[in-house]
Protein backbone atom coordinates (compact mmCIF):
# COMPACT_ATOMS: atom_id res chain seq x y z
CA UNK A 1 0.00 0.00 0.00
CA UNK A 2 0.97 3.54 -0.69
CA UNK A 3 -0.29 7.06 -0.24
CA UNK A 4 -0.93 8.41 -3.72
CA UNK A 5 -2.06 11.73 -5.11
CA UNK A 6 -4.00 10.87 -8.21
CA UNK A 7 -5.59 13.05 -10.82
CA UNK A 8 -9.19 12.32 -11.67
CA UNK A 9 -9.66 11.24 -15.28
CA UNK A 10 -13.38 10.85 -15.19
CA UNK A 11 -16.11 11.10 -12.61
CA UNK A 12 -19.45 10.42 -14.25
CA UNK A 13 -22.94 9.64 -13.17
CA UNK A 14 -23.92 6.20 -14.39
CA UNK A 15 -27.25 5.78 -12.61
CA UNK A 16 -29.39 7.43 -9.97
CA UNK A 17 -26.89 8.75 -7.40
CA UNK A 18 -24.27 6.33 -8.74
CA UNK A 19 -20.90 7.53 -10.05
CA UNK A 20 -17.96 5.92 -11.74
CA UNK A 21 -14.61 7.53 -11.06
CA UNK A 22 -11.33 6.73 -12.72
CA UNK A 23 -7.72 7.79 -12.55
CA UNK A 24 -4.37 6.48 -13.68
CA UNK A 25 -2.10 4.76 -11.25
CA UNK A 26 0.39 2.21 -12.39
CA UNK A 27 1.11 1.21 -8.83
CA UNK A 28 -2.50 0.52 -7.92
CA UNK A 29 -3.26 -1.16 -11.21
CA UNK A 30 -0.32 -3.51 -10.85
CA UNK A 31 -0.95 -4.38 -7.24
CA UNK A 32 -4.71 -4.63 -7.40
CA UNK A 33 -6.40 -7.86 -6.46
CA UNK A 34 -10.18 -8.24 -6.70
CA UNK A 35 -11.74 -7.28 -3.39
CA UNK A 36 -9.12 -4.67 -2.52
CA UNK A 37 -10.25 -1.23 -1.56
CA UNK A 38 -8.74 2.21 -1.15
CA UNK A 39 -9.22 4.80 1.57
CA UNK A 40 -9.82 8.16 -0.09
CA UNK A 41 -9.18 11.58 1.39
CA UNK A 42 -11.55 13.71 -0.59
CA UNK A 43 -10.43 17.09 0.68
CA UNK A 44 -7.20 17.56 2.60
CA UNK A 45 -8.33 20.75 4.26
CA UNK A 46 -11.70 19.50 5.39
CA UNK A 47 -12.49 18.76 9.01
CA UNK A 48 -16.04 17.72 8.14
CA UNK A 49 -15.99 15.20 6.57
CA UNK A 50 -12.89 14.34 8.53
CA UNK A 51 -11.99 10.75 7.84
CA UNK A 52 -11.02 9.06 4.62
CA UNK A 53 -13.75 7.11 2.85
CA UNK A 54 -13.25 3.43 2.03
CA UNK A 55 -14.26 2.49 -1.52
CA UNK A 56 -13.56 -0.72 -3.38
CA UNK A 57 -11.54 -0.78 -6.51
CA UNK A 58 -14.11 -1.92 -9.02
CA UNK A 59 -11.75 -2.94 -11.80
CA UNK A 60 -8.63 -1.82 -13.63
CA UNK A 61 -7.92 -1.42 -17.34
CA UNK A 62 -4.28 -0.99 -18.13
CA UNK A 63 -3.06 1.75 -15.80
CA UNK A 64 -6.54 3.02 -15.26
CA UNK A 65 -8.28 2.35 -11.98
CA UNK A 66 -12.08 2.45 -11.70
CA UNK A 67 -14.07 3.10 -8.56
CA UNK A 68 -17.84 3.12 -8.40
CA UNK A 69 -19.78 4.70 -5.61
CA UNK A 70 -23.16 5.83 -4.50
CA UNK A 71 -23.78 9.26 -3.06
CA UNK A 72 -25.07 8.53 0.42
CA UNK A 73 -23.63 11.26 2.65
CA UNK A 74 -21.33 14.20 2.89
CA UNK A 75 -18.16 12.49 1.73
CA UNK A 76 -19.53 10.84 -1.36
CA UNK A 77 -21.42 14.00 -2.23
CA UNK A 78 -18.20 16.01 -2.14
CA UNK A 79 -16.49 13.34 -4.21
CA UNK A 80 -19.22 13.47 -6.83
CA UNK A 81 -18.57 17.21 -7.22
CA UNK A 82 -14.92 16.71 -8.17
CA UNK A 83 -14.10 17.01 -11.80
CA UNK A 84 -11.49 15.81 -14.24
CA UNK A 85 -8.07 17.14 -13.39
CA UNK A 86 -8.70 17.55 -9.68
CA UNK A 87 -6.51 15.61 -7.31
CA UNK A 88 -7.54 13.18 -4.60
CA UNK A 89 -5.39 11.44 -2.04
CA UNK A 90 -5.74 7.70 -2.23
CA UNK A 91 -4.37 5.15 0.22
CA UNK A 92 -4.23 1.65 -1.18
CA UNK A 93 -4.53 -1.04 -2.20
CA UNK A 94 -5.95 -2.17 1.14
CA UNK A 95 -7.41 -5.34 2.52
CA UNK A 96 -7.34 -8.93 1.41
CA UNK A 97 -8.97 -10.16 -1.74
CA UNK A 98 -11.33 -12.78 -3.05
CA UNK A 99 -9.71 -16.16 -3.45
CA UNK A 100 -9.18 -16.38 -7.20
CA UNK A 101 -6.59 -19.06 -7.71
CA UNK A 102 -9.13 -21.40 -9.17
CA UNK A 103 -9.52 -22.32 -12.76
CA UNK A 104 -11.92 -24.27 -14.92
CA UNK A 105 -14.61 -24.20 -12.24
CA UNK A 106 -18.20 -23.04 -12.06
CA UNK A 107 -18.54 -20.01 -9.88
CA UNK A 108 -21.61 -18.10 -8.67
CA UNK A 109 -21.36 -14.47 -7.69
CA UNK A 110 -24.06 -12.45 -5.99
CA UNK A 111 -24.08 -8.68 -5.77
CA UNK A 112 -26.52 -6.18 -4.35
CA UNK A 113 -26.50 -2.39 -4.70
CA UNK A 114 -23.07 -0.80 -4.55
CA UNK A 115 -21.75 -4.17 -3.45
CA UNK A 116 -21.80 -4.93 -7.15
CA UNK A 117 -18.81 -2.71 -7.85
CA UNK A 118 -15.94 -4.86 -6.54
CA UNK A 119 -17.40 -7.84 -8.38
CA UNK A 120 -16.44 -6.50 -11.81
CA UNK A 121 -12.75 -7.05 -11.15
CA UNK A 122 -13.50 -10.40 -9.59
CA UNK A 123 -15.48 -11.61 -12.59
CA UNK A 124 -12.76 -10.45 -14.98
CA UNK A 125 -10.10 -12.32 -13.06
CA UNK A 126 -12.13 -15.49 -12.71
CA UNK A 127 -12.88 -15.49 -16.41
CA UNK A 128 -9.23 -14.86 -17.21
CA UNK A 129 -8.43 -17.99 -15.26
CA UNK A 130 -10.85 -19.98 -17.35
CA UNK A 131 -13.77 -20.33 -14.97
CA UNK A 132 -17.42 -20.24 -15.83
CA UNK A 133 -19.02 -17.34 -14.01
CA UNK A 134 -22.72 -16.77 -13.33
CA UNK A 135 -23.51 -13.41 -11.78
CA UNK A 136 -26.68 -12.52 -9.89
CA UNK A 137 -27.26 -8.80 -9.60
CA UNK A 138 -29.86 -7.19 -7.37
CA UNK A 139 -30.98 -3.59 -7.92
CA UNK A 140 -33.73 -1.50 -6.45
CA UNK A 141 -35.28 -0.62 -9.78
CA UNK A 142 -34.37 -0.10 -13.41
CA UNK A 143 -33.22 3.48 -12.73
CA UNK A 144 -30.58 2.35 -10.25
CA UNK A 145 -29.02 -0.22 -12.54
CA UNK A 146 -25.42 0.13 -13.63
CA UNK A 147 -22.60 -1.81 -15.30
CA UNK A 148 -25.00 -4.51 -16.47
CA UNK A 149 -23.61 -4.51 -20.00
CA UNK A 150 -20.13 -4.87 -18.60
CA UNK A 151 -21.12 -7.95 -16.65
CA UNK A 152 -22.89 -9.39 -19.69
CA UNK A 153 -19.66 -8.96 -21.65
CA UNK A 154 -17.58 -10.69 -19.01
CA UNK A 155 -19.75 -13.37 -17.47
CA UNK A 156 -21.37 -16.50 -18.82
CA UNK A 157 -24.76 -15.70 -17.36
CA UNK A 158 -25.99 -12.44 -15.96
CA UNK A 159 -29.20 -12.70 -13.94
CA UNK A 160 -30.87 -9.56 -12.76
CA UNK A 161 -33.49 -8.88 -10.16
CA UNK A 162 -35.12 -5.64 -9.12
CA UNK A 163 -37.16 -5.02 -6.00
CA UNK A 164 -40.02 -3.66 -8.06
CA UNK A 165 -39.66 -5.97 -11.03
CA UNK A 166 -38.99 -3.05 -13.36
CA UNK A 167 -36.18 -5.12 -14.87
CA UNK A 168 -35.34 -8.80 -14.69
CA UNK A 169 -36.84 -10.94 -11.97
CA UNK A 170 -39.01 -9.23 -9.43
CA UNK A 171 -37.78 -9.74 -5.92
CA UNK A 172 -34.76 -10.49 -3.89
CA UNK A 173 -31.51 -11.44 -5.57
CA UNK A 174 -30.90 -14.13 -2.96
CA UNK A 175 -34.11 -15.85 -3.97
CA UNK A 176 -33.08 -15.93 -7.62
CA UNK A 177 -29.73 -17.30 -6.61
CA UNK A 178 -31.31 -19.92 -4.38
CA UNK A 179 -33.54 -21.11 -7.20
CA UNK A 180 -30.54 -21.51 -9.44
CA UNK A 181 -28.17 -23.02 -6.94
CA UNK A 182 -27.19 -26.64 -6.57
CA UNK A 183 -24.12 -28.18 -5.02
CA UNK A 184 -23.26 -29.80 -8.30
CA UNK A 185 -23.58 -26.63 -10.28
CA UNK A 186 -21.18 -24.37 -8.37
CA UNK A 187 -17.85 -25.00 -6.75
CA UNK A 188 -17.68 -21.71 -4.88
CA UNK A 189 -19.82 -18.64 -4.24
CA UNK A 190 -18.73 -15.02 -3.81
CA UNK A 191 -20.93 -12.17 -2.68
CA UNK A 192 -20.98 -8.51 -1.77
CA UNK A 193 -23.89 -6.31 -0.78
CA UNK A 194 -25.93 -4.95 2.08
CA UNK A 195 -25.96 -6.81 5.40
CA UNK A 196 -29.50 -8.21 5.05
CA UNK A 197 -28.48 -9.79 1.75
CA UNK A 198 -25.34 -11.32 3.21
CA UNK A 199 -27.27 -12.56 6.20
CA UNK A 200 -29.81 -14.24 3.95
CA UNK A 201 -27.00 -15.90 2.01
CA UNK A 202 -25.34 -17.06 5.21
CA UNK A 203 -28.65 -18.49 6.38
CA UNK A 204 -28.77 -20.65 3.24
CA UNK A 205 -25.92 -22.63 4.85
CA UNK A 206 -24.55 -23.44 1.43
CA UNK A 207 -22.80 -26.78 1.09
CA UNK A 208 -19.94 -25.06 -0.78
CA UNK A 209 -17.49 -22.40 0.25
CA UNK A 210 -18.91 -18.90 0.22
CA UNK A 211 -16.88 -15.74 0.56
CA UNK A 212 -18.41 -12.38 1.33
CA UNK A 213 -16.95 -8.90 1.22
CA UNK A 214 -18.07 -6.94 4.28
CA UNK A 215 -18.27 -3.34 5.37
CA UNK A 216 -17.71 -1.71 8.70
CA UNK A 217 -17.03 1.92 9.59
CA UNK A 218 -13.33 2.58 9.28
CA UNK A 219 -10.90 5.15 10.56
CA UNK A 220 -7.40 4.02 9.56
CA UNK A 221 -8.22 1.36 6.98
CA UNK A 222 -4.97 -0.47 7.70
CA UNK A 223 -5.53 -2.39 10.90
CA UNK A 224 -4.19 0.08 13.44
CA UNK A 225 -7.19 1.69 15.10
CA UNK A 226 -9.29 -1.43 15.70
CA UNK A 227 -12.52 0.40 14.92
CA UNK A 228 -13.70 -2.00 12.22
CA UNK A 229 -13.89 -5.17 14.28
CA UNK A 230 -16.05 -8.11 13.42
CA UNK A 231 -16.71 -11.14 15.56
CA UNK A 232 -15.48 -14.46 14.33
CA UNK A 233 -15.89 -17.93 15.72
CA UNK A 234 -14.63 -18.79 19.20
CA UNK A 235 -14.66 -15.24 20.47
CA UNK A 236 -12.12 -14.26 17.87
CA UNK A 237 -12.07 -10.68 16.63
CA UNK A 238 -11.14 -9.80 13.08
CA UNK A 239 -10.73 -6.43 11.46
CA UNK A 240 -12.59 -5.82 8.27
CA UNK A 241 -9.92 -3.52 6.84
CA UNK A 242 -6.92 -5.77 7.32
CA UNK A 243 -8.20 -9.32 7.88
CA UNK A 244 -10.97 -8.61 5.34
CA UNK A 245 -12.93 -7.19 3.72
CA UNK A 246 -13.43 -10.70 2.32
CA UNK A 247 -14.29 -13.45 4.80
CA UNK A 248 -15.54 -16.99 4.66
CA UNK A 249 -19.16 -16.20 5.37
CA UNK A 250 -19.47 -19.02 7.91
CA UNK A 251 -16.51 -17.76 9.92
CA UNK A 252 -17.90 -14.38 10.90
CA UNK A 253 -20.97 -13.02 12.62
CA UNK A 254 -23.12 -10.90 10.37
CA UNK A 255 -25.53 -8.85 12.45
Amino acid sequence: MKLLDVEIEENVKIANDIFLLSFESEYLAENFKPGNFVNILIDKESIYPLLRRPLSISFVEGKRVYIGYKVVGKGTKLLSQKSKGETIDVLGPLGNSFLTDISDENVAIIGGGVGIFPLVGLCKELKNKGNRVDIFLGFRDSNSMFLVEKFKDICDNTLISTDDGSCGYKGNVVDIFKNNFSKEKYKVVFCCGPKPMLKAIKNLKLPVKCYASLEEKMACGIGACLCCSIKGKDDNVYHVCSDGPVFDIMEVEIE
Binding site: M1, K2, L3, L41, K44, I47, Y48, P49, L50, L51, R52, L91, E216, K217, M218, A219, C220, G221, I222, G223, A224, C225, L226, C227, C228, S229, I230, K231, D235, N236, V237, S242, E255
Partner: protein, 300 residues
Protein backbone atom coordinates in the same frame (compact mmCIF):
# COMPACT_ATOMS: atom_id res chain seq x y z
CA UNK B 1 17.48 23.32 15.00
CA UNK B 2 17.35 21.38 18.22
CA UNK B 3 14.03 19.60 18.60
CA UNK B 4 15.17 17.33 21.41
CA UNK B 5 13.04 17.30 24.51
CA UNK B 6 13.56 15.50 27.77
CA UNK B 7 11.03 13.80 29.97
CA UNK B 8 12.33 12.40 33.24
CA UNK B 9 15.79 11.99 31.82
CA UNK B 10 14.55 10.24 28.69
CA UNK B 11 15.57 12.15 25.58
CA UNK B 12 13.11 12.29 22.72
CA UNK B 13 14.73 13.44 19.51
CA UNK B 14 11.65 15.46 18.74
CA UNK B 15 8.43 16.19 20.60
CA UNK B 16 6.07 14.30 18.29
CA UNK B 17 4.66 11.10 19.78
CA UNK B 18 2.09 8.78 18.24
CA UNK B 19 -0.97 8.73 20.51
CA UNK B 20 -2.05 5.51 22.13
CA UNK B 21 -4.76 3.56 20.37
CA UNK B 22 -4.41 5.33 17.08
CA UNK B 23 -1.21 3.68 16.03
CA UNK B 24 -1.59 0.04 17.02
CA UNK B 25 1.87 -1.33 17.75
CA UNK B 26 3.37 0.55 14.84
CA UNK B 27 3.41 -2.39 12.48
CA UNK B 28 0.72 -1.18 10.09
CA UNK B 29 1.91 2.41 9.86
CA UNK B 30 5.49 1.24 9.38
CA UNK B 31 4.47 0.29 5.86
CA UNK B 32 3.49 3.87 5.16
CA UNK B 33 5.94 6.01 7.05
CA UNK B 34 9.31 5.81 8.68
CA UNK B 35 8.71 5.16 12.37
CA UNK B 36 12.13 6.64 13.10
CA UNK B 37 10.54 10.01 12.47
CA UNK B 38 8.72 9.87 15.77
CA UNK B 39 10.13 11.18 19.02
CA UNK B 40 8.15 8.40 20.63
CA UNK B 41 5.35 5.93 20.08
CA UNK B 42 2.69 5.23 22.66
CA UNK B 43 1.29 1.78 22.10
CA UNK B 44 -2.31 0.67 21.91
CA UNK B 45 -3.65 0.34 25.47
CA UNK B 46 -2.54 -2.94 26.98
CA UNK B 47 -4.32 -4.98 29.62
CA UNK B 48 -3.19 -8.03 31.56
CA UNK B 49 -5.44 -10.36 29.63
CA UNK B 50 -6.41 -10.28 26.00
CA UNK B 51 -9.56 -8.23 25.34
CA UNK B 52 -11.86 -8.40 22.37
CA UNK B 53 -13.17 -4.89 22.96
CA UNK B 54 -16.63 -3.44 22.57
CA UNK B 55 -19.36 -4.49 20.13
CA UNK B 56 -20.00 -2.73 16.84
CA UNK B 57 -20.59 0.05 15.99
CA UNK B 58 -17.43 1.40 17.57
CA UNK B 59 -16.93 4.47 15.45
CA UNK B 60 -18.85 7.41 14.13
CA UNK B 61 -18.01 10.72 12.61
CA UNK B 62 -19.30 14.03 13.94
CA UNK B 63 -18.61 17.69 13.16
CA UNK B 64 -14.83 18.02 13.25
CA UNK B 65 -14.22 14.81 15.11
CA UNK B 66 -14.86 11.14 15.62
CA UNK B 67 -16.38 9.19 18.48
CA UNK B 68 -14.79 5.83 19.19
CA UNK B 69 -15.60 3.02 21.52
CA UNK B 70 -12.92 0.45 20.82
CA UNK B 71 -12.92 -0.59 24.44
CA UNK B 72 -9.29 -1.54 24.80
CA UNK B 73 -9.22 -4.41 22.36
CA UNK B 74 -5.68 -5.76 22.68
CA UNK B 75 -3.82 -9.07 22.71
CA UNK B 76 -2.85 -8.84 26.40
CA UNK B 77 0.49 -8.01 27.94
CA UNK B 78 2.15 -11.32 27.21
CA UNK B 79 1.48 -11.18 23.50
CA UNK B 80 2.53 -7.54 23.55
CA UNK B 81 5.89 -8.38 25.08
CA UNK B 82 6.52 -11.40 22.89
CA UNK B 83 5.00 -10.49 19.56
CA UNK B 84 4.88 -6.73 19.31
CA UNK B 85 7.64 -5.19 21.38
CA UNK B 86 10.54 -6.80 19.50
CA UNK B 87 9.28 -5.22 16.28
CA UNK B 88 8.87 -1.78 17.83
CA UNK B 89 12.30 -2.02 19.41
CA UNK B 90 13.92 -2.05 15.99
CA UNK B 91 13.25 1.62 15.54
CA UNK B 92 15.16 4.58 16.85
CA UNK B 93 12.24 6.02 18.80
CA UNK B 94 11.15 5.90 22.41
CA UNK B 95 8.56 3.28 23.21
CA UNK B 96 5.84 4.15 25.66
CA UNK B 97 3.63 1.33 26.88
CA UNK B 98 0.07 2.49 27.52
CA UNK B 99 -1.17 0.32 30.41
CA UNK B 100 -4.71 -0.26 31.58
CA UNK B 101 -5.70 -2.04 34.76
CA UNK B 102 -9.07 -2.76 36.26
CA UNK B 103 -7.66 -2.53 39.77
CA UNK B 104 -4.65 -1.00 41.43
CA UNK B 105 -3.05 -4.42 41.50
CA UNK B 106 -3.47 -4.91 37.79
CA UNK B 107 -1.81 -1.59 37.10
CA UNK B 108 1.07 -2.68 39.31
CA UNK B 109 1.34 -6.05 37.62
CA UNK B 110 1.38 -4.45 34.21
CA UNK B 111 4.02 -1.96 35.30
CA UNK B 112 6.18 -4.72 36.69
CA UNK B 113 6.02 -6.69 33.48
CA UNK B 114 6.52 -3.97 30.89
CA UNK B 115 8.48 -1.20 32.60
CA UNK B 116 11.85 -2.98 32.32
CA UNK B 117 11.30 -3.42 28.59
CA UNK B 118 10.16 0.01 27.43
CA UNK B 119 11.33 3.60 27.76
CA UNK B 120 8.29 4.87 29.62
CA UNK B 121 4.91 3.70 30.69
CA UNK B 122 1.74 5.70 30.29
CA UNK B 123 -0.79 4.87 32.98
CA UNK B 124 -4.13 5.31 31.28
CA UNK B 125 -6.45 6.61 33.97
CA UNK B 126 -8.80 8.03 31.42
CA UNK B 127 -10.28 5.44 29.08
CA UNK B 128 -13.97 6.35 28.71
CA UNK B 129 -14.84 3.10 26.97
CA UNK B 130 -14.62 0.57 29.77
CA UNK B 131 -17.00 0.07 32.65
CA UNK B 132 -14.32 -0.35 35.30
CA UNK B 133 -10.83 1.05 35.63
CA UNK B 134 -9.91 3.79 33.16
CA UNK B 135 -11.85 6.97 33.59
CA UNK B 136 -13.80 5.57 36.54
CA UNK B 137 -10.56 5.68 38.53
CA UNK B 138 -9.18 8.65 36.71
CA UNK B 139 -11.91 11.10 37.67
CA UNK B 140 -11.03 10.79 41.34
CA UNK B 141 -7.85 12.62 42.41
CA UNK B 142 -7.43 10.23 45.34
CA UNK B 143 -7.46 7.22 43.04
CA UNK B 144 -5.06 8.95 40.68
CA UNK B 145 -2.74 9.58 43.60
CA UNK B 146 -3.01 6.05 44.92
CA UNK B 147 -2.50 4.24 41.64
CA UNK B 148 0.31 6.51 40.54
CA UNK B 149 2.09 6.02 43.84
CA UNK B 150 1.92 2.25 43.66
CA UNK B 151 2.87 2.09 40.02
CA UNK B 152 5.82 4.37 40.67
CA UNK B 153 7.02 2.00 43.38
CA UNK B 154 7.24 -0.94 41.03
CA UNK B 155 8.12 0.73 37.76
CA UNK B 156 11.59 0.36 36.36
CA UNK B 157 11.11 3.29 33.97
CA UNK B 158 9.58 6.77 34.12
CA UNK B 159 5.83 6.95 34.59
CA UNK B 160 3.47 9.16 32.63
CA UNK B 161 -0.08 9.46 33.93
CA UNK B 162 -2.75 10.06 31.29
CA UNK B 163 -5.57 12.25 32.52
CA UNK B 164 -9.22 12.46 31.59
CA UNK B 165 -10.81 15.77 30.53
CA UNK B 166 -14.22 14.68 31.80
CA UNK B 167 -13.83 16.41 35.14
CA UNK B 168 -14.60 19.72 36.76
CA UNK B 169 -10.95 20.51 37.40
CA UNK B 170 -8.25 18.59 35.60
CA UNK B 171 -5.53 20.34 37.58
CA UNK B 172 -6.59 18.39 40.66
CA UNK B 173 -5.73 15.22 38.79
CA UNK B 174 -2.46 16.70 37.59
CA UNK B 175 -1.47 17.77 41.08
CA UNK B 176 -2.43 14.37 42.49
CA UNK B 177 -0.27 12.63 39.90
CA UNK B 178 2.66 14.94 40.57
CA UNK B 179 2.41 14.50 44.32
CA UNK B 180 2.36 10.75 43.88
CA UNK B 181 5.61 10.96 41.99
CA UNK B 182 4.53 10.83 38.36
CA UNK B 183 7.37 11.80 36.01
CA UNK B 184 5.01 13.42 33.54
CA UNK B 185 1.35 13.76 32.72
CA UNK B 186 -0.32 13.38 29.36
CA UNK B 187 -3.62 14.96 28.43
CA UNK B 188 -6.23 14.89 27.15
CA UNK B 189 -7.83 11.55 26.55
CA UNK B 190 -11.11 11.64 24.65
CA UNK B 191 -14.18 13.51 25.85
CA UNK B 192 -17.29 11.49 26.59
CA UNK B 193 -19.74 12.10 23.75
CA UNK B 194 -22.72 10.74 21.89
CA UNK B 195 -24.43 10.87 18.52
CA UNK B 196 -27.75 9.49 17.36
CA UNK B 197 -28.89 8.21 13.98
CA UNK B 198 -32.16 10.06 13.55
CA UNK B 199 -33.52 7.53 11.06
CA UNK B 200 -33.21 4.55 13.37
CA UNK B 201 -33.14 6.60 16.59
CA UNK B 202 -30.26 4.40 17.70
CA UNK B 203 -27.03 5.72 19.16
CA UNK B 204 -24.29 5.63 16.52
CA UNK B 205 -22.07 3.91 19.08
CA UNK B 206 -23.31 0.59 20.42
CA UNK B 207 -22.16 1.42 23.96
CA UNK B 208 -24.27 4.60 23.61
CA UNK B 209 -21.45 6.97 24.52
CA UNK B 210 -17.85 6.96 23.32
CA UNK B 211 -14.81 9.17 23.29
CA UNK B 212 -14.64 12.28 21.13
CA UNK B 213 -11.28 13.05 19.49
CA UNK B 214 -10.08 15.20 16.63
CA UNK B 215 -10.01 18.94 15.87
CA UNK B 216 -13.31 19.61 17.67
CA UNK B 217 -11.68 19.06 21.07
CA UNK B 218 -8.52 21.08 20.49
CA UNK B 219 -9.47 24.33 22.24
CA UNK B 220 -10.61 22.38 25.29
CA UNK B 221 -7.36 20.43 25.33
CA UNK B 222 -5.19 23.53 24.95
CA UNK B 223 -7.03 25.15 27.84
CA UNK B 224 -6.43 22.12 30.04
CA UNK B 225 -2.74 21.94 29.18
CA UNK B 226 -2.41 25.61 30.06
CA UNK B 227 -4.25 25.14 33.36
CA UNK B 228 -2.06 22.20 34.31
CA UNK B 229 1.12 23.97 33.28
CA UNK B 230 0.38 26.63 35.86
CA UNK B 231 -0.08 24.03 38.58
CA UNK B 232 2.58 21.36 38.12
CA UNK B 233 6.31 21.28 37.49
CA UNK B 234 6.53 17.89 35.82
CA UNK B 235 6.51 17.84 32.02
CA UNK B 236 3.19 17.79 30.22
CA UNK B 237 2.51 15.83 27.06
CA UNK B 238 -0.30 17.61 25.27
CA UNK B 239 -2.76 16.23 22.78
CA UNK B 240 -6.28 16.52 21.43
CA UNK B 241 -7.11 17.44 17.86
CA UNK B 242 -3.65 18.26 16.60
CA UNK B 243 -3.90 18.32 12.81
CA UNK B 244 -0.76 20.21 11.82
CA UNK B 245 2.34 21.97 13.13
CA UNK B 246 0.40 25.09 14.07
CA UNK B 247 -1.82 23.13 16.39
CA UNK B 248 1.21 21.40 17.87
CA UNK B 249 2.89 24.75 18.50
CA UNK B 250 -0.21 26.02 20.29
CA UNK B 251 0.05 23.13 22.73
CA UNK B 252 3.74 23.78 23.28
CA UNK B 253 3.18 27.47 23.94
CA UNK B 254 0.41 26.50 26.35
CA UNK B 255 2.93 24.43 28.27
CA UNK B 256 3.40 21.05 26.62
CA UNK B 257 6.94 19.69 26.50
CA UNK B 258 5.91 17.11 23.94
CA UNK B 259 2.73 16.40 22.01
CA UNK B 260 0.88 13.34 20.82
CA UNK B 261 -0.96 12.96 17.55
CA UNK B 262 -3.89 10.61 17.31
CA UNK B 263 -6.83 11.03 14.99
CA UNK B 264 -4.75 12.85 12.38
CA UNK B 265 -2.84 9.63 11.68
CA UNK B 266 -5.99 8.20 10.12
CA UNK B 267 -6.30 11.13 7.79
CA UNK B 268 -2.74 12.07 7.03
CA UNK B 269 -0.12 9.45 7.87
CA UNK B 270 2.54 12.00 6.95
CA UNK B 271 1.43 14.27 9.77
CA UNK B 272 4.41 13.37 11.95
CA UNK B 273 6.82 14.51 9.27
CA UNK B 274 4.94 17.67 8.44
CA UNK B 275 4.58 18.63 12.09
CA UNK B 276 8.23 18.03 12.85
CA UNK B 277 9.32 20.09 9.84
CA UNK B 278 6.75 22.76 10.59
CA UNK B 279 7.91 23.20 14.17
CA UNK B 280 11.50 23.41 13.02
CA UNK B 281 10.73 26.10 10.45
CA UNK B 282 8.65 28.03 12.97
CA UNK B 283 11.41 28.04 15.57
CA UNK B 284 13.87 29.28 13.02
CA UNK B 285 11.63 32.06 11.71
CA UNK B 286 10.73 33.16 15.22
CA UNK B 287 14.34 33.19 16.30
CA UNK B 288 14.30 30.46 18.92
CA UNK B 289 17.38 28.33 19.44
CA UNK B 290 15.66 25.31 20.78
CA UNK B 291 12.18 24.03 21.25
CA UNK B 292 12.63 24.18 25.00
CA UNK B 293 12.47 27.95 24.81
CA UNK B 294 8.93 27.67 23.49
CA UNK B 295 7.45 25.47 26.20
CA UNK B 296 4.93 27.51 28.16
CA UNK B 297 6.32 30.67 26.61
CA UNK B 298 2.97 32.40 26.36
CA UNK B 299 2.45 36.16 26.26
CA UNK B 300 -0.29 36.97 28.68
Amino acid sequence: MNLEVEIAGIKLKNPVIAASGTFGFGREFSKLIDLNLFGGISTKGITLKKRTGNPQPRLCEVYGGIINSVGLENPGVEAFVNDELPFLRKFDTKIIANINGFSKEEFMDLAKIVSPLVDMIEVNLSCPNVKEGGMVFGKDPNKVYEITKEVKKVSACPVIVKLTPNVTDITQLAVAAEKAGADAISLINTISAMAIDIETRKPLIKMVTGGLSGPAIKPIAVRMVYECFKKVKIPIIGMGGIMNHKDAIEFIIAGATAIQIGTVNFINPNAVYEIKEGIEAYLEIMGFNSIRELVGNINI
